[in-house]
Amino acid sequence: MAAVIELDGLNVRFGQRDILKELRCSMSGRAIGLLGPNGAGKSTLINTLLGFYRPFAGTARVFAHDIRTGTREIRALTGYMPESDCFIASMTAVNFIRMMAELSGLPSGAALERAHEALFYVGLGEARYRRLGTYSLGMKQLAKLAQAIAHGPRLVVLDEPTNGLDPPARQRMIRLIREMRDTGEVSILISSHLLRDVEETCEEVLILKEGRQVHYANLEEERRANRRFLELETVGGDNGFADAVTALGCECALTSAHRIKMVLPESFAIRELYRIAGERNIQIRRMSYRRDSLEDIFLKAMESANGRP
């Protein structure tokens, strides 16, 4: 799959302060999460990709367009939903989104049509002729999403999209993001400090801390890999169970008399475990896959970053 975003030794400096340090990775998922505590550099990375900040060293590419030379092309392919309140309070939602779509290059008629569609899509259809200044916080977030997608970009950048939303509004936003992701017509970059949002929507995650890249993970691969780690709790003695399983290619470790942790080989069928247990008159009371949640991944990444000199 072609890379959506490639970071190539990207370094951003404000004055004498390095804000982003040597970021290097290639992201190609349909939904990419940017995670990190406040001040980690998530928004700075987004603003650099959009050409608002100049890189001090290294570079980055969005859909193979270099951020140093192809800012205009990148912006033409991108829709951006900023973190802070950004709108013109005196304009109606439909006029505002139409203007933004026109600025992205859509002819006036098409822009008006897509402004209506985008507002219906995010659930603001009935309120589209109201002035943006009268919208609630949740509605403003949805209006920001509508302006980011109205011109049909190939990459939508969402900076803290669920900020300030109540649970139903948050659920709605997450559902919209997943729907867009699943159409396959758009890639999504989500910056958030809320692990749950990223876990529910993203396929890849880049974790930043103090401007450094501390972990990059493909969540799908991590989930697949986790299915190879198994923990068993048995009753009825060992009776050579571990040896028999090891003979089939598994790596086993006895953590206590009745608990076995094992790593299964790629082609191993779980029914083999039941067969061996049956032959040895052993009951399998509990069988669980290891499930590293994003929180585990994040905490591990933070710990490893703390250990860094």
């Binding site: 302060r17 290059g105 859509l106 002819p107 897509r114 569609e117 219906f120 997608i149 049909g152 758009v186």
Partner: protein, 285 residues
């Protein structure tokens, strides 16, 4: 993303040419501006004096009327006529700038809307040009366009020989107005970019002209010099416009000094905007 389907769909249609996109900002701003009845009424008033001048030019050549009144010619249509026309329309233009200018950039800054404009294939320069085009249009409609129409009326009444002999007047009206429009526009945009409150920005624009004039007088009196006039924008414009119509400088500074001071003022305004018209300000520290 059709309304009935309610699903995301990318846009695959034709795009407008990139060079034309700054006009979108101008169009939306125009629609917004003329919602104000006060502004519309004032804008209409700005045409009264050019209309009066046009009537006067016609009467000036109305032989039967002049014969009835036993007058050979009411007034001469020369550089003084056009300089006076420019001075009157400049005053109208300045007030119009003070009404319209402060509301151009400051609302976008107050609403943090700049990231939304600039995250598109749309540069900061295009944004500024789009905003500036509003003033360029409005001020052109009340300065050089009626000025050249008056020149045309006089030329049609006096004949081609007059027009040819006085072509410098048309040039003076156009260049003088253009300089004025440029200075007013850049100044009001720069102030609008730095002062988020519309009313305060309007007051600041008036302050730059009137306080600048007062300060110039103080500098001249204290230092016993004439160089104080270099910070008096009104005086600089008068000197430059006078030079375009062949009038000697009256304020004690040469026309070339006034030109340089105006260019410096424009560069300063552009630098102020360059600093402020950004998606996000960079905090260095």
């Amino acid at each position: 993303m059709a309304v009935h389907k309610r699903s995301y769909r990318a846009y695959a249609g034709a795009l407008t040419p990139a060079w034309s996109r700054f006009t979108i900002i101008t169009c939306y701003a125009f629609k917004n501006l003329f919602r104000s009845r006060v502004l519309t009424a004032y804008f209409v008033c700005c045409f009264f004096y050019p209309l009066g001048c046009a009537v006067a030019l016609y009467l000036n050549h109305n032989l039967s009327l002049l014969t009835t009144l036993n007058i050979r010619q009411v007034f001469a249509v020369d550089s003084d006529f056009f300089l006076h026309f420019l001075a009157v329309q400049s005053a109208f233009a300045f007030i119009l700038t003070a009404i319209v200018g402060p509301g151009l950039v400051s609302p976008d800054l107050a609403n943090n809307a700049l990231p939304l404009y600039l995250c598109r294939p749309f540069s900061r320069a295009e944004y500024v040009v789009g905003k500036m085009a509003i003033l360029l249009w409005l001020l052109s409609l009340i300065t050089w366009i009626p000025g050249l129409i008056l020149f045309g009326i006089e030329a049609s009444l006096s004949g081609g020989a007059w027009a040819w002999a006085n072509i410098g007047l048309a040039r003076g009206v156009f260049i003088g107005s253009a300089i004025e429009i440029l200075v007013f526009s850049l100044l009001s945009l720069a102030i609008s970019a730095w002062i988020k409150r519309k009313l305060a920005a309007g007051a600041a624009l008036l302050g730059v002209f009137f306080f600048g004039s007062g300060l110039a007088q103080v500098i001249n009196a204290v230092l016993e010099t004439k160089n104080g006039y270099l910070i008096d924008l009104g005086n600089l414009l008068t000197t430059v416009e006078g030079s375009l119509f062949g009038h000697p400088p009256t304020a004690g500074i040469s026309a070339s000094s006034a030109w340089i001071a105006l260019v410096a003022a424009c560069v300063f305004c552009i630098a102020l905007m360059e600093r402020k018209v950004r998606a996000y300000e960079i905090v260095v520290g």
